[in-house]
Structure formats: C-alpha cells, structure tokens
C-alpha cells in the first residue's frame, strides 16, 4: 500500500487545477434540469472537450487521454474542488461509452465515441417503462426487424436527459413473444427520428430533467444495435455495473459536499442540535471511507480485477450518505431551509441538493434491489420468497 502520489500524479493534479481555475464558470450555471441550463451545461461539455478533458480515461483515438483510474480520481478531485458544473454527458461518457468500448463494432466505436467525448452528442437513458422500473425485465417496448431497420413501438419513461438530449440508448424487445431477460436488444437511436415523441416530466423541484418517450413506428437502422440481437440484457447489466460501480459517483463530489457541510456547520455551530455535530463528523468519515474504497477498487481494476456485486454496496453507501449530508444541512439552515433563495440572494443549493439526494436511493437500481443483490450474491442468501 502506497499513500503517496507520484511526482507525475502531482504534476497532473496541478495541470488539472490550473485549467479548471482558468475555465470553470465563476457563477454557477442554471440547473441542468431546465432548457436554458441544459444548453449552458452542453456548452461547458464542449469547453471541457476543447481542453481534452471530456473523458480522461478514454483512449486517445476516441478523444480521451488514455489515463489510468488513479489519474481519473485526481481529475475528479480537482473537478469538484473547483466547483465545476454537473456533467450533461454523464450518460454517454460514463455509461454508454464504456459499454460501446466493450461491445461495439469498430464502426460503432468510430461513429459514436468521438462525438461523445467532444460533447457534440448528448445521450439520454431509456431503460424504464411505466410497468418496468425496478423490474427492468418486464420491458415490453418492441423493436421488430423490418429489412435493415428495427421498427420501435411503445413507451419509455423517467429517461434522464431525454427532455433535451440528442440521442438515446436503451433495451427493446426484438423477439416477439419473448419473456423477461430473453429476447431483449440494446439499441441506440436518434431522439429526432420521426415517430419519437418526448414528453418532459416535471420533477419534484418543478424543473424537467427527465422525460417520457413515446415510440410510434420509429425506424432505426439495424447497425444501431449494440452487441448481438437478444444480448441486450447482458449488455445492460454491464452498463448498470458501470453506473452503480466505480464511475457514476466520484468520491470528490461527496468530499466537496462534506467540506461545504463542515463550513455550514461552523457558521451555525451555536444553534446546531447536538446530533448534527456528530452527523457532520459522520459525513466526513463517510466521504473519506468512500474515497478509500474507490481508490482501492480502482487499484484492483488496474491490476486486472473486476467489480461485481460490490457495486451494490457502493450504490447503497453513497446514496444514503448523500441524503444524510443534505438532510443535515437542511437542519442547520433551520427556518431558512424552505427558502429557494437565501438572504444573500444566492440559490439555496442545499435545498435543491436535498431534493436531488432523495432520488439517489431510487435511481440506478433502487436500494431495495441493491440490498437484495448484496444479500443474494455477496452473502449467498436464498432467493426464495419475495425478492
């Protein structure tokens, strides 16, 4: 075990820091969940790409820097320390990108990865359906082969970014009459294809981040199918693995929250409830533990290992930690917690953050599902009974 960064890693950290200092917008962008904010965030993606910071771990030929996971963690630490914006292209660079690298044809890689890293094409997720949330294998939206196209009919919902994004990816039933995990294929589609209707869904905070997608005889070329026909479930599980696993939530993000929480506490120390003081310390411990764990997993992967069901432990931990930190902040704000803008005229980011943190234990596989996976795959408890 080696707790010191190399000279090269220090040098890289400072390179990131200098670039961020020079480029991170001085005033926070409008929320990504609103159309104006979405476009501000896409512009930021392109600024990142201009500095070749779009996705540092990707191979150089796809617009990455071919850096290792430790360097990625350093990048993320500097990114969040600089207060840089949320990533509009999260779905693409962290989820779809790695999936295409694992399962894509050379043509698909050439076609999709470079514009993804460049922030030219922003991707939306299209997993869930009204009847298929936690139970994703209940998907019914059909993609029926017709010559060199698939004809898609059905509905997706809670599709993140789908309100404004360019392309989408998801699972579709390509084999008529197939059941559950069988007969599903992983298909990429242009959200502007005729027959696709987007209905933005207003979220808790009032803004519209995700959307319903209606497919009415939507024709998608067969070459947009990733991996083999009927292989969709396995490909999706790999993607979900990335999502729950290492890359969806870098430790730096939560360490930045914990630091802001400590500062908020210092400002309200005199009026804070006793347990809040302990919660603030728990927040620091939790975010540090999450960082240690992520550095360890990164090292394991660099040494040729894989993330399996431990990804579920990760997802449970960061989502409940994030909710706890924001809940604690709401307590510290007291009567001001309900205000959308605080006395100083600033947006009450803790309130928006608390609302968003409530979705953490729900999306990317609800924590109930994650605890089932943990119990059954890591602890080997029987599957009998209700999930």
């Amino acid at each position: 075990m080696q707790l010191q960064y190399t000279t090269a890693q220090h040098k890289f950290r400072h390179e990131v820091r200098d670039w961020m200092t020079a480029h991170v917008p001085k005033t926070p962008l409008v929320t990504l969940e609103r159309e104006d904010g979405y476009h501000e965030h896409v512009a930021w993606e392109r600024t990142l790409a201009s500095g070749n910071w779009g996705m540092v771990t990707w191979p150089v030929e796809y617009g990455g820097r071919g850096l290792d996971l430790i360097e990625w963690l350093i990048f993320e630490e500097e990114y969040w320390a600089a207060g840089a914006p949320a990533r509009a292209n999260q779905n693409g660079i962290f989820l779809l990108g790695p999936t295409i690298m694992d399962y894509g044809t050379p043509e698909q890689k050439a076609r999709f990865l470079t514009p993804m890293a460049a922030g030219e094409i922003i991707w939306a997720q299209a997993w869930s359906e009204p009847g298929a949330g936690s139970d994703m294998a209940a998907i019914t939206t059909k993609a029926i082969r017709d010559g060199d196209h698939y004809v898609i009919n059905g509905q997706k919902t809670w599709s993140s970014r789908a309100a404004y994004a360019d392309w989408g990816f998801g699972l579709f039933r390509t084999e008529e009459g197939s059941k559950r995990h069988k007969g599903l294929s992983f298909i990429l589609f242009d959200l502007d294809t005729p027959g696709v209707t987007r209905r933005p869904i207003r979220q808790l905070h009032g803004d519209t981040g995700f959307a319903e997608l209606f497919f009415d005889d939507v024709r998608v070329p067969v070459e947009n199918c990733l991996a083999g026909v009927g292989e969709g479930w396995n490909v999706a599980m790999a993607t979900a693995g990335f999502e729950r696993g290492l890359m969806l939530r870098a430790p730096g993000r939560f360490q930045a929250t914990a630091k802001r929480l400590v500062e908020l506490f210092r400002a309200h120390e005199k009026t804070a409830a006793p347990a809040v003081r302990e919660a603030v310390l728990t927040a620091w411990m939790g975010t540090q533990a999450y960082a240690y764990n992520t550095y360890a997993v990164a090292a394991k992967i660099m040494a040729g290992g894989k993330i399996g069901a431990e990804a579920s432990l990760n997802k449970i931990f960061w989502s409940e930690l994030d909710r706890m930190m924001h809940r604690t902040a709401m307590q510290l704000l007291g009567a001001a917690a309900e205000l959308r803008t605080l006395g100083n005229g600033e947006i009450n980011a803790w309130l928006d953050g608390y609302i968003f943190s409530l979705s953490g234990p729900i999306y990317a596989g609800s924590n109930e599902i994650q605890r089932n996976i943990t119990a059954e795959r890591l602890l080997g408890l029987p599957r009998v009974g209700a999930g």
Partner: protein
C-alpha cells in the same frame, strides 16, 4: 385523568375531514398551484363551516371551543395540505386575542371570516400570508398597510412549497404565548401531513406491481411503512397532551409543546422520505401529488422553532432540571 378524545371531538374532526376530503382534493392543490394560490371560495367554505369561529368565544359569535378541538382541526388542515391561513387566524391568533383585554371587534371579524391575521415572530425569517391579511400579530395586533401588503412584490421570499406565500419579516419582540401556540398548531398540521403521506404511500404500494406482485407485498416495503406507522402512533398523543396542557396552562406545557413539535416534525420528514422511496421514480415527479405534502412538511418542521430550538428548550427542562421527570411525572 382521561386521555380519551370525546365523541364530540371525534365527530367534529370527522365532519371537517369529510368536508375537506370532498372540497379540497389534490385537484384543488394543482389548480391553486397553476393560478393564484389563494381562493376566496375555499375560505368562505371554511367560514360557513364555522371553523374561523372555532376558538372565538360564543359571546363574540364563535363556538368557544378549546385548543384540543383546534388542534384536531389543524390535523385535518394538514391532511389536505390546506393553503388558506385558517390555522394562523382562527386557531392561533383568535385564542390569543380572546385572552387579551380590549380586543374590540376583531374576534367578531375573525368569526365572520372578514379578518385574516398573519403572525410575526423573531424566530421566523419571514411572515406568512401577509399580503392577503387584514392584520398582523406580534405582541399586539396591527392593521396591515398597503405598503406591507405590497411588500412581497418585490421581494417575496419564495418557499419550496408553491402554496406558501412568504413576505419579509415584520420587526417585533418575542411573544412566548404566540410561539407556544403556533408551535403546537404547527405540530398538529404536521401530524395530518404525515398521515396523508403514509396513506398515499400505502395506497400506491397496493396498486403498483413489480416482479409479479404489488410492491406492498414485499417485506422491505411493508417494514418501512410499518416503521412509519409506529412513528405516527407515538407522535399523535404528544400533540393531544401538549394541546390540553397548554389549554390548562400547566407549567409543563412548553416542554410538552417542544416534544410535540419535534415528534411531529420527525414523523413528517421521516415519512416524507419513506413515501418518496416507496413511490420510486414516480414520487420524484411533480405529477404525483405527494410533493405538495412533502414540501409543506419541510416548511412547517422548521417553522416556529426548528428541531434544534425545541431540543434546546427540552434540554433545559429535562437535563437542566426545569421539570420533574420519571414514572411519577407523566403529566407534570
């Protein structure tokens, strides 16, 4: 010694619940959210029910009922996420004014529904429903001037609750009687909010199916909702006892009120988190009604003394020795 609610009290609460269920459903909340978020017709309905006069002495045209009855109705106001300032005017201002000397015609006006009273206290960084108020009450009663009524454009403080109208605070000294009564009635509304959210989550768990069965059949969902029911079961009586203790002017009333406010706030904010979790992604949308109740719960939990404030009061009472504790002191 008798902690039973009387048949009259239960019947009163039941009748108000039935009336509000019929006239103030989620559709009304969505309508108010879309347009002007106060509606004279709703207010008039409450007046016609006699609710504005609930705590007004019969001599002044009211029903002359007590704080426990008022708290029971405040629960119903929370249950339907009522936006009209009935609780502030009729259950907080009215009882305080009824105890004051020289109140002139104000009690009659409250009973008649022509007076709407906003409440100011240094603990709150805002004042609610000032722009539609005829008066505001701090330590004494003031008429609302046009300047004050207009004070909210600009700038009104925007609450996360789309049905709450907050204006900048009015300078006023502390009024302990106001604080205790307002904290109690806020706790009562939080009970109603919590009960409504538990009901919504339970109803959803019965109809939403995944993996071939209603999600409410999964123990993971069952046990979250059962824990919510436990929290409510033991928060409710704390509110009833606080209401009666305040009504009786017991020395332990302030501690009882702080207990009630903390227990009701914890139940409401905790059940809000349970309810959204049970609703899954649906619960994160504006399309499901749940969000109105969640946001009101967050607002009221921190209003009229947040958790830390009331814990500090309890600390002085329980650890500091301000009140007698132990088996012999269930009620003081």
């Amino acid at each position: 010694m008798n902690l039973l609610l009387t048949p009259d009290q239960l019947e009163l609460a039941e009748s108000v619940r039935t009336y509000l269920a019929g006239t103030h459903g989620p559709d009304v909340l969505r309508r108010l959210d879309a347009g002007p978020n106060r509606d004279p017709a709703i207010w008039q309905g409450l007046v016609d029910m006699g609710l504005t006069g609930l705590c007004v002495p019969e001599s002044a045209g009211g029903l002359g009922l007590g704080l426990l009855e008022a708290a029971l109705i405040a629960v119903e106001c929370g249950r339907v996420c009522l936006a009209e300032p009935l609780v502030d005017t009729a259950f907080i201002a009215a009882p305080l004014l009824a105890d004051a000397p020289e109140t002139g015609e104000i009690l009659q006006q409250i009973a008649a529904g022509t007076a709407r009273i906003a409440l100011a206290h240094p603990l709150n960084p805002w004042i609610a429903d000032l722009e539609t108020a005829t008066h505001w009450l701090g330590t004494t009663l003031f008429p609302v001037t046009r300047a004050q009524a207009g004070a909210h454009h600009p700038p009104v403080a925007a609450s996360v609750d789309p049905l709450r109208n907050l204006s900048p605070p009015q300078e006023t000294p502390e009024n302990p009687a106001l604080l205790n009564l307002a904290a109690l009635m806020t706790a009562a509304q939080l009970i109603g909010l919590a009960e409504a959210m538990l009901q919504q989550a339970t109803d959803y768990a019965k109809i939403r199916s995944q993996f071939g069965q209603p999600i409410g059949a999964f123990q993971a969902v069952k046990h979250q909702l059962a824990s919510a029911a436990v929290a409510l079961e033991f928060a409710r009586p704390a509110v009833w006892v606080a209401a009666q203790a305040l009504h009786d002017g017991l020395a332990t009333a302030p501690a009882a009120v702080s207990h009630a406010k903390i227990a009701a706030g914890d139940a409401a904010t905790g059940i809000a988190e349970t309810a959204i979790q049970v609703h899954g992604a649906m619960g994160y949308t504006y399309e499901v009604d749940l969000h109105f109740w969640m946001k009101r719960s967050w607002a009221l939990t921190a209003a009229w003394g947040d958790r830390a404030f009331h814990l500090a009061r309890l600390d002085a009472a329980v650890i500091g020795g301000g009140i007698a504790i132990g088996p012999r002191h269930s009620f003081g």
